[in-house]
Structures are given as C-alpha cells and as structure tokens.
Subunit: 821 residues, 2 copies
C-alpha cells in the first residue's frame, strides 16, 4: 500500500539503466542551491502558510511561543540551513497548484512592498521585467551556443578530409573562399585545402589517395566517437541522446536533478560537435533543444522568481525549447509551435509570447553570427519557382503514407533494440558500442558519396532545384542547358548520372534506415531530426525524379492530366519539392508532429504556396503512423524509460471510477492523522511506518471527515524545529492541527501544527469517473487528490496511481477487451 510514496519504482527502473544514472549527481540541482535566495523564498513560504488560514479572524500563536513549532518555519535563520519548503526531491513530481500559488503570494508581497520605498519599487520593477529579461538572455545565449556548435561541428567534420594549412581554424569552404579559385572539384575542394593523403605526399586522387582518405576518414571518425562517448561517460551521463523525451517529462512536472545543469550543457555541446563530426547517422537539432533548456535552467537561477519555483521555471524552459528549435532550423515560429505541440505541458498565453520573443532573439543572434556564411538564418534555404499541380497531391499523399510506414517501422525497431540494450550485457559497454557502430558506419559510409558527405549537406542537395550551380549527378539531364538564366528550364530526359545517383541514393537510404536504428540510443549526444529528414528526402527525391520522367514520357498523351501546364517544353515537376515533402513525411512519421513540422518546413522555403503539399504529407504520415503504432519516438522512449509522463494528447476512455484506483483498496487501513488527538509518538510512528509524501488530517479516528492534508516534509521540519527549541519534548505531547487547542488537565503543552496543514486539498468523490480525475491531474497539475464519500475520507490517488492505472487499462485493451467478451 502506498499513499504518496516517492516514485521508487521509477527510480528503480531508472537506476537499472545500465549507465547507472542515479549514482552520479554532478549538479547541485534545483533543490539545494538555496542559500543565496533563501531570504526571498522564506517570505513567500511564510506567506503561503499564512494564506491557508487567512480566513480565520484571530491568530492565537504568539511569536516565540516554543510550542508553536510551525511558526518557526517562517524564521529566516532557521530556514537558511535547510532546503526550502517549496523544493522537491530528485525524481519527484511537482505540485503545480502549490508552486503557482507560492508565486502569486510572492508577487502580492512584492506589489504590496512596492509602495514602501524606492528600493522596493525598483525590486518590483525588476520582478515584473525579470521574465522578459530572462528569456532575452536565454535567447541570446542559445543563439551564440548554436553558432559556436555550427562552426565547431563543420570544422571538425572537414577535419576528417583534410586541413587548411594557411589557417588551420578555417573549414574547407572558408579556406577555399580565401583562395579566390573559381574551379573546384565536385565536393568543393580547392588547392588551398590540403587533404590528408596530400600531407603524406600522396596525391588526392588515385587508388593510394583513395585508400589513405578512407583510412583517415575512419580513423578520425573513431577518434571523435571515442572522445564523445568518453566525455559523456565520465562527466555527464545525462548528456547522451537527444534529450527531448526527458525534457517533455521534466516540463510535465518531474524533477531530474542535473539533467539541465552546466556540466550536461558543456559536455553535450562538445559531445555533439564530436559526434556530428564522427559521421554517425545523427543530427544536432534535438540536442540543441536540450542545450537551450540547460541554458534556460541555468539562467533561471539568476532570477529567484523562476529559479526557486519549479512551476515558474518550466515557463522559461518552454521558451528555451522554442529557442532551441529556432536556432536548430532557423525557424522561430516553428520553434514556438514545436514547444507548444510537442514539448510543453503547461503553456499559458504569457509563455506563448515569451517563447516567441525568445525564439526570435535566438534566431536573430544566430543570423548575426552567420555560421552558414549565407544571409539566411535557415538551415536549408531553398526557393522553388514552380507552382505545384493539383494532380501532384497523389504522389505527395503517397510520400506521406511511405513516411508513416518508415516512421512506425523505425520506432518499433529502435525501441526493440533499446530494450535489448537495457536488458542484455550490451548496455554495460556503452563506449565500445559507440565505437563499433562508428566503425561500421564509417566503413560503409565512405564509398557512397551521398553517405560520405555531411547529412545536412545531403539534405540540402536533395532539396535544391537543378540549376546553373548544381553539378551533381542528380542533375545530369540530357539536352538541358542551364547557362542561360532567363531561359525556361526544359523538361528533359534523365541522363546516366541520374540513374547512377538513383542507385546510390537507394543504397544510402537502406544504409541510413538500418544504421539509424542502432545509432539513436547510443550513449552520445544524438538527435533524430536530421537522419529522419535525410531518409525522407532520399525517398522524396527518388519519387520526384520518377514523376519527372513519367511526365517527360507521357505529357503529350495526357495533357488534361497536368492541367495543360506540362504541354510545353517547360519542366513542371520540381524533384526538390518532392524531397522536401518526403522529408516532412518521414519526420512526421517518426515524431508525429504535424503543425509545427509543416511550419518549420514552411519557414525553410518561405512560400505559403507549398503548405498544402506539406500538410497533406504530414497528415497522411501521422494517420498511417498512428495506425501502425500509437506512440511517436519520444513518447516511446518515455515509455521505455518509465518516466512518469501524463500525456495530454491521449484521451482516457475507460469507465473506471476513482474508487477503483484509490489507495488503499479494500480492508486496508489508511494512514491518517487526527486533528487534535494524535500524540507525537503516534505521529512519529505513522511517519516511520510508511514512506508516503503526505498524510490526510481527519476529524477523529471514528468520524473520518477530511480536514486537510499535511506534507511529510513539513511535518518533519516542524517536529525537528520543535525538538530543537524544547529539548525534552515528551513523546506523549499532543500534536494539534486545529485552530482551537483542547484544554488538557495534565500532560505536556500541546504542539500547535495548524500552519503546516493545507486546509484546501483537492478532493473528489469515490464515484468520480477516472476520465474526470485524469483530466484534473492534467489540467490542474495535481500531485495527489483525496477521495471522499459523503464527506468521509476513503483514500487517496497520486499521480503515480493514475499513471499505473492508465498503463494497466492500456494493457487490458491490448490483451483483448475483457468487458465485451
């Protein structure tokens, strides 16, 4: 029987994780960084205690009364030594209502004080602005962070191929800029850029050169991967993966200390540069969201309003995650919608504005840094000049279906592999695993030029239209002349280069699909956006080229089919657009994003015109994906790791009642405290015998009418405080939770504990349908609710009980609906 037990099961599952997360506490964490803002926080905590009895007209507890233990909690000198009342333990669920109430109390206090002095007025103004200032700083730092990582990752990636001897700190593109050379080979090389074989005196072409390049490629990849994995292993285990499942969990109101700390940020930043450079099938976009959230968390400590209040801090984290996507793709609006749709839990309108501001600032800063060297802040900036035809909706929808299937298969396979890693011995050798996957990836990736190049370069190549500057194989059409810019691009027959490219792309697709399953989940920083986009872009480009050739061969026989637009020699199919639609489809299938996905893609092209194809593909992909497997990759990983995440999207559709879920069930006794007849000994016994986080207070053992709810933590603090003041506190001291202290002839003076009781706990009746209960937990952000029947206390339902029940009902559904048989 567990009332408000710590989420021990979760911790168990968590610590079972082969990486041993729980053994490492690299960060002081939100709960213990208290000394600096202790005084500030005390005021609010004290006020909070006052609020619960503001309705009563008189106040009996005299300051300094040694028996009034709870009064002492508000004492600053007392509180400085211990963690504040509003803090939570690691792996605990936060109580949104309570935190928001604490913030309002603090706010009221500041407003009230504002009229007293200039200094307080200034403090009030600082408080009012701090939210905006905080997101401003977060935005600026996120932009800088993204710029540094972009530059660093590009440099390291190019290091696999060669070096710029004249200025070693330049990457290949920058190196070749300074050379003023106009002639470069297909991968953009120029004479100033020295490849590794050249350094060893071997020509860059020829068999020896190829072998040397191959060897260096594999060698550097292994070195980078080793470095990344070791850094993560040694300094910040939380820095691995994309971080988005954990951020979703944290934003839904869970505490994971150190997950958003400075060490995680630092190691993740270095690690992501290394792992991207190692050529593994991963992206830096997801980790950028995590890093932006780290920045948000760190900066929030500069503002006690946010740093000391877990619920308020999540507002900053929502904004930070928007900034993360904003800098990852150069899509501020898409970032805000990503935060709203995918990541955030509690998203009031104020947060919407701040997120938008934060995302914009971040994008603006990144644009000023200009890491890509073009004037667009967008990762893949493309412009199409052809409208799409209505008939093209058919292949677009088809791409959506393919994307959904690929996404669902990928999720299933990846989860299967991750579960295998968790349960088998494989999980004990994370660094070796990383090295093995890297070796495999590097060996197979080098021969195929589409897998050898940087994945974002590949996506960009597949997105772009064939034009004057594009000399790749996929633009090798027969009789097509690009030299005249003003000339219409004629529809043309594919040349040999295109067919070669098609084969290479198909091989690249298979390779990416297989290797990404093994890559996502490795203990290095690794995002999933870029690999998904790449897979989709390959599929899309292949379909696009197919469509183009179809139109080339049949456009005269079926003119009505193409609305008469392809009847001239002009090309009317843009294979690049197909690549983009395919990319959206696969990413949609993997993550199950819809609106934010379309908006991000829309921001990449900047044309309202292509929203409909993107939307069609995203929708088809989501529907097909949902039909094949309910959860997106992030939700699947949340489920795999057993995080206590109460999803807002799913509707709870079962007919169970609160009475079926509450603890205790049948015949078991409920641990309660009576309002004026519990002795200190009984109290200590109750606390010792159970590990619940709180206890309901009732009128008496006989008539269990609910009075209030008291937290274990507060109770402990109050008793410790009282024992400090009165050394010989007899164990038969009566602990009184009422306003009125009963008169006792003999015995010690009763201990007044009324102030620590929450007199307004959320209650429901035992007949409340669970769907309403789930709704209340979601919308009010409850930690627990008390179950009554005609006013009498029957039991308690915690968030964990709710989650367990949902899981149980889902499993019942899967094993077959018992009710209907």
């Amino acid at each position: 029987m567990a009332l408000v037990s710590p989420t021990s099961e979760l911790i168990d599952r968590y610590s079972k994780d082969s990486f041993g997360y729980c053994t490492i506490m690299d960060e002081p964490g939100p709960g213990t960084t208290s000394s600096r803002y202790g005084a500030q926080s005390n005021i609010s905590d004290d006020d909070l205690l006052h609020i619960t009895h503001a309705g009563s007209s008189s106040e009996s507890s005299v300051p300094g009364d040694p028996t009034d233990s709870s009064g002492g909690i508000g004492n600053a000198s007392f509180n400085d030594d211990i963690p504040g009342l509003g803090q939570y333990d690691d792996f605990h669920t936060i109580d949104w209502q309570r935190d928001i109430a604490r913030d309002r109390t603090r706010h009221r206090y500041i407003v009230k004080k504002k009229e007293e002095s200039w200094w307080d007025l200034l403090k009030g103004a600082h408080d009012a602005w701090s939210g905006w200032v905080c997101v401003l700083i977060v935005g600026v730092l996120s932009g800088v962070m993204a710029g540094v990582i972009d530059i660093g990752a590009t440099w390291l990636t190019d290091l696999k191929f060669g070096l710029c001897p004249s200025a070693f700190y330049l990457n290949m593109e920058q190196c070749c800029w300074s050379s003023n050379e106009t002639v470069r080979d297909i991968s953009g090389n120029c004479s100033l850029w020295v490849t590794w074989p050249e350094m060893l005196g071997v020509g860059r072409d020829g068999a020896a050169g190829y072998i040397f390049r191959y060897l260096f490629y594999v060698g550097w990849a292994m070195l980078f991967a080793l470095l990344a994995a070791s850094l993560v292993r040694m300094f910040a285990p939380y820095a691995c993966g994309s971080g988005i499942p954990e951020i979703k969990t944290i934003l839904s109101g869970f505490i994971i200390r150190g997950y958003l700390g400075k060490w995680t940020l630092l190691i993740k930043a270095v690690g992501i540069m290394l792992s991207v450079a190692s050529g593994l099938s991963l992206g830096k976009e997801g980790p950028m969201v995590h890093m932006a959230c780290c920045i948000g968390n760190i900066i929030s400590y500069l503002f006690p309003k946010y740093g000391k209040n877990e619920a308020k801090k999540r507002e900053i984290l929502s904004a930070a995650s928007a900034a993360g996507v904003s800098v990852a793709f150069g899509a501020p609006i898409g970032g805000v919608l990503f935060s709203l749709e995918e990541v955030s839990y509690y998203f009031p309108l104020k947060t919407l504005w701040r997120s938008f501001f934060c995302a914009l600032v971040a994008a603006f800063v990144l644009q000023s840094i200009n890491p890509f060297g073009n004037e667009h802040s967008v990762l893949f900036y493309v412009e199409y000049n052809k409208p799409w035809l209505f008939v093209e909706l058919v292949p677009f929808l088809m791409l959506g279906v393919i994307g959904g299937i690929i996404g669902a298969l990928f999720i299933k396979a990846n989860i299967y592999w991750c579960r295998f890693r968790k349960t088998s011995k494989l999980g004990q050798y994370p660094v070796l695993e990383v090295l093995a996957v890297t070796l495999f990836t590097a060996l197979l990736a080098f021969p195929n030029k589409y897998t050898r190049m940087n994945t974002s370069e590949l996506i960009y190549l597949l997105f772009t239209q064939c034009g004057v500057t594009n000399e790749h194989d996929i633009c090798d059409y027969i009789d097509r002349d690009f030299t005249n810019v003003n000339h219409e691009v004629p529809i043309a027959k594919a040349g040999d280069g295109v067919y070669t490219a098609l084969w290479q792309l198909i091989l690249a697709l298979i390779f990416k699909m297989v290797i990404t399953i093994f890559t996502f989940g490795l203990k290095i920083p690794a995002g999933l956006f870029i690999p998904s986009l790449a897979m989709g872009a390959i599929v899309g480009r292949i379909v696009g080229i197919g469509m183009e050739q179809l139109v080339y061969y049949y456009h005269d026989s079926l003119p009505w089919f193409f609305e008469g637009k392809c009847s001239q020699d002009e090309s009317c199919i843009t294979p690049g657009l197909y690549a983009m639609v395919g990319a959206a489809a696969v990413l949609g299938g993997v993550t199950r994003m819809t609106v934010s996905l379309v908006v991000i893609m829309f921001e990449l092209t900047g044309g309202v015109r292509y929203i409909v194809p993107l939307m069609a593909a995203a929708m088809a992909s989501k529907w097909v994906g949902d039909a094949l497997g309910k959860m997106g990759i992030y939700d699947a990983h949340i489920d795999l790791n057993g995080y206590p995440f109460l999803d807002c999207k799913d509707e709870f559709g079962h007919t169970t009642l609160a009475a079926d879920v509450m603890q205790p069930q049948r015949n078991e006794a409920l641990d309660v405290i009576t309002q004026d007849s519990t002795t200190l000994r009984e109290l200590k016994e109750v606390m010792k015998n159970s590990d619940h986080n709180g206890f309901p207070v009732v009128v008496s053992k006989e008539s269990q009418y609910l009075v209030g709810f008291v937290l274990r933590r507060d109770l402990q603090l109050a008793i410790e405080n009282a024992q400090q003041r009165l050394d010989g506190l007899p164990s038969d001291t009566l602990c009184v939770f009422t306003h009125h202290v009963p008169m006792i002839g003999s015995g010690p003076t009763p201990l007044k504990l009324r102030k620590i009781v929450d007199l307004a706990p959320i209650t429901i009746t035992d007949q409340t349908p669970m769907e309403t209960v789930v709704d209340m937990f979601r919308k009010l952000g409850l930690r627990q609710t008390l179950v009554t029947h005609s006013g009498k206390l029957l039991g308690i339902i915690t968030k964990k009980d709710v989650l367990r029940h949902i899981k149980q009902m889902e499993e019942e559904d899967e094993t077959g609906p018992i009710i209907f048989n």
Copy 2:
C-alpha cells in the same frame, strides 16, 4: 441569494441594449433542434446516468418500475418530445466537464457497438472521421464565402464610381482588363469603364463631373448603408458589429442562441458587402471570422457528435475562426494562432491540428477562386528587397509606442461613445445613426483621394515600395528613375508630390481616427482590422518618408550610423516597411494581439527577415497599450456588454477565500435536498421558491454531508415523467436519492431519483484560495462548485459568483487598495 441562478442579470443587461436583442429569436438555436438526432443523444444521456453509479455492484431499479422515475429518462420515446438532457437554455453557461464526459460515453458506446455489425462499423468509422470531414466542409465553405464576399464587395464599391456597360457584372479592374488598354489614369480607370457623370453626358473631369461624381458617391454610400442597416434591423440583429467579442464569449462556454445561425450568416454576408461598399471606415475581416463560425455552427449540425454537444461544437468553432482569419488575410498559420491566442478558450492539441487543416483548406479554396486576380491568396502581398538596419529599430519601436497610444485612446473613446449610445436615446435610432455617420463619412472622404479609395487599396498602396508601376504622389521623388529595372533604386529627395501626399495622409489619419470611433459599434456588420491597419500604415509611411529624407540629407555625415550601407547612392530605407510596422503597431494597440499579429504580417510578406521589426513594434505597442488601459477592444466590448467571460489571460491576484465568495453568506439558509427524507411536496416547494439551476443533495438536514448534486432540469423531467405514469402521485411521496430505499410502513411508494444525481460534483473546501477556485473554473470549465468544510456542505460558487467577485475586486483595486491603507 442566488445559488445557480440563470444569468438573469446578464440577460437584463443584454436586453437593456437598445436594439432589443432578446426580443428576437430568429433561429431555433442549438438547444431545440433536437428531433433528428434524438435517438443518438438518448443513448449517451442514458449511459451518462449509468456511469455515475457504475461503481455500485447491484442495481435495484427494475425496468418499467413505475416509481423509478429516473429510469424513464433514458427511454427514447419519452425523450424525443422534450429537449435533450444535455442542452442548455439561452444565455446560460455550459458545463464543459459534463459535455466532454457525455461525448466520451457516446464514443465508448460506438466503439463497443462497432464489433457487432458492418453497419455499426461504418457508423464508427463515420464517427471517427466526422471531425475532419466537418472541418473540411467548414474550410471549403469559408473559402467560397470569402471569395463571394470579396468579389461582391469590390463590385459594389466600384458601383459608387461607375459601371461597366459592356458587362455590368465586372468591376472596374476586370472591366479594364478586357479593354487591353495600357494607358489608364491614376485610379485605374479606362475608357470601357463609364463613370456616372459620363452616363449623364457630363465629362468625367472638370467641375461638373467632379460634382456629379461627388453626388453619386454620397448617394450610393447612403443607399448601401441604409440597406445594410435595415437588413440587420429587420432580419438579424445579431449580424451587427464584428462579432469577435461575442464569439470569444460563446467559445468560453456561453449560449447565445441564433448568434451563429443561418440568418445571421446570410444577413451578415450581404450586410458586410454593402457596408464595405458604402465607404464607411470599417473592414470585412472581423465579420469574416463571425461568418466562418456561423458556417461552423451550421455544418456541425450535420454531425451529431458536434451539433448535439456544446463543448465539442466549440472545437469546430475554434477551427472555423481560424479559417475566418485565414481567408480574411490569406494567412492560415496566423489564423490558427489568432484562434489560439485571441478567440479560443478550450484548445486541445487535436483542435490545433483541425484548425490548421481547416484554415489551410479555406485558404486553398479562396486561392482557387482567386478573387483578387493575382496568384497570391494574400490580401496585401508585398515583397521588399532591402534588409533593415539595426538602427532602424529606434523608429520601429517609436511606431510601436505610437501604435499603443493610438490603440488605447481609440478604445477609451470608442467605449465611451458606445456606453453613451447604450444609455442615451441615440440607441433607439440605429438606422438613422448609421445614415448620419455614412453621410458624414462620404462627404468628408471624397475630397481626399486617400480616404476616397477603398481602405484596403490604401493600405496596399502604403505598404508597397515605390517602383516602376507606382505612379502615386507618394512616389514622386526628384531625379529618381525607375525605368531600368536592374538599376539600383537611388536615394532621392522628395518631390512636391510627396509633400502633398504627406499633408493629405495626415488629414486622412485624423479623419480615420475620429470617424472610426463612431463607426465601430454601429448596428451594421463592421470589422476593425482594416481601419486599424490603415491608421497604422499612414503613421508608418509618414515616419518612413521622414526617415528616408533624414538619411538622404545626413547619410554622408553619419556613415557609421547606417552601418555604411547608405553611403552609396542606393536607397536603404523602405517606407513601405515602416507602413507595415506601423499597421502592426496600431492593430496591436487596438486588439492587444502579439504572436498572431506578427505571424499574420509575416505571412503577408513571406520574409522571415522582417519578423524582428514587426515583433519589436507589436511588443512595444502591447506594453504601452496595457499601461494606458488594461483591456483590448474586444475585451472592452465584452465588459461593456456584460458577457460572462472568464478571461484566461488575467491572473487573479487577491487573497480572498472560497468562504468569502460562496453563496449563501452568513445566516442565510442553503436550499438543499436530503437524500432520503424529502417529500414530493417539499421538493416542489424548493424548486418553486428558488430559481437555481441545481440543488445539492445532503445526507440529512441535521448532518449536511454532501452526497451529490442534482440539476433542476433533470429533477423537473423526472417528476413530470413520474406524474405522467402515475396519475395520482400523492404529494407526500418520499423522493429518495439513495441507492438504499428506506422501508416505510405506511404512505405511498417512494420515488427513486438516484439516477439523476451527479454523485461526483466538484467540491472545494471553504479555505481554498480564490485564485485556485478561479483556476479550476477556467481549466476545468466548471459551471459551479460546492463548498464544504470537513465534509459538511457550506455553500456553492457559480461561474457568475466568480465573475462578480473578480469584477468587485477589480473595482476595489481601482478605488484604491483598502487593505494597504
């Protein structure tokens, strides 16, 4: 004392409105269109009743038991004759929790039935798809509606100036297209288009021509206005105004029958064309949102899932309002964000996807209709080719401040005038008022060419860059040559034309500012977006031209100031961008939109580049506006009309407790029903003596422990049903609300009413802070909550009590903080 009283005060205030809204019920309204889907709904209602006691193991009521009155409610034949249980009266608040629960029950029923037959499987599939199908239809119809209105309004507007004799149904622009004439005069006239003086044999130029044109302009304007006002007056009084305040109220869970009906739609569509054509200072964008919501409401009746469930219907309405903005501006993403930020109340993620889909479909349909005759679906499509300079943020922020001031002043003046209209005799002559304002507008607008032209044309003119095709005065620069397209536009000195234009623009601004105050609130369809945008665009363009000239004169002396970008002859200031920023600022000041505003503006230009200036101006405008007056124009009108709108944005920051707000206060008795000791006579008396919507059920008069809550409506239905079955129902019959029926020796058989009791009412304790209570009302969409103390019932808080309390606290705040004195 009012427990769950009908919102009589609101009805009072509403019917006090001089237009006599309440006397006209032009639509059957959502509450009474019941016959068609009665059977469907019965199932769910019956199921709902079952759900409340699903926890109890045995079921005592035998079907057909004449004393079990409540059992009969589920009977289809019974329920067909009376309005369903889930319906609400006019001007009542809906109970979100109950409606959502009803929908889930219905859903479960369908899922369960699905396995029985093919037909049921089909019905299940239809049910699953109906949401998407519904928003698809709404989107298509919204697009068509917008296309028709755009075309109609343009034609009527041009009718003021002349006619196309060769094809009377063409507007001026279309008429001139067919003429193949290349030379047109400044306002786009051509020889095929015959102006009114020409029809009368007078030349279009010259004094006589001017006077005739003037007369016809005024005459047509008066005719259009008279028609619009009369139509609204006679057929659909709800069609007046923009409709957005009412839609906000409806979406927050209020019933206004007929507000979204087919008559309102029809009259509003015709009326808006007429009122736009009359040249009044108003726009069709707000009304388009209203009309799209009408379409949403009407279409939702095709799908019982939505038509019969007020909470679910609001999901469709949210999507419809997104479609409305989408077609009004050609901005689908902006529309979704507008729906999210400004209009909607309950916006789950599913609604986000559907809204996006709906908005996209609507935009796509409108684009296919192509009413503007260009390939863009956007109202003001502009493209700038210059980046903005960092230093320009100063004038942009200044524009934001000006926009905030204009917005706040406008709101104050408009509300003052509307209040005057409500309280004075003026309100009794709505048509005369419309005619007077129209006469005034037409007389003053004609002489100034910037006010004479269509307001959206004016905005477009101000937004655009000066280029080859722009021959207006505002582009009259000395020594600037546009003939060479490839040539850089040189920075140039303003010519006389620009100075003339400046004066005319200033006059136009003053005129618009004054006349719009009197126009918004007239009893004709009238939106506020376009006038606000126009005011802002004028201010912005003036500032832009000023900046441009400043740079022209000083760019050599302050090169560092302009980042060296204006040092060449090239122009580096785009006055059109200033116009756009100014427009965003004033619209932001008036409506207090932020994100959606920026996104709408961004979609107009399609360039991520200009988001930062727009954002800066929108933020500055909102902050300045909020400092000068808390409410945006829509909220101010909601307040003025006394709608029961519980704003999600405001935080309730007072320390009152539930005990201070609940009814009854002090010494008054609470109307309760005991669970097993109330006779029929007592029950009827309680119902007669109070007008509450529901009554709490308690254990007994002596121990008022709460058992449940019963709705007046259900009680009435149950008693009527019982009386129908048992003619001579004695008035001393015991009404039993418990599962267990007490054994009575003598007297009539007790009437079992257990099934109609809601055994899971939401309760709070008397010590709950009001901020928590307000939060619960907002987030859970409550209609009322019961207040208890240690399980005993103390009172009740309704949504109306909460609203009254918030209002009261706000007034206290304004009269000075009493607490702090």
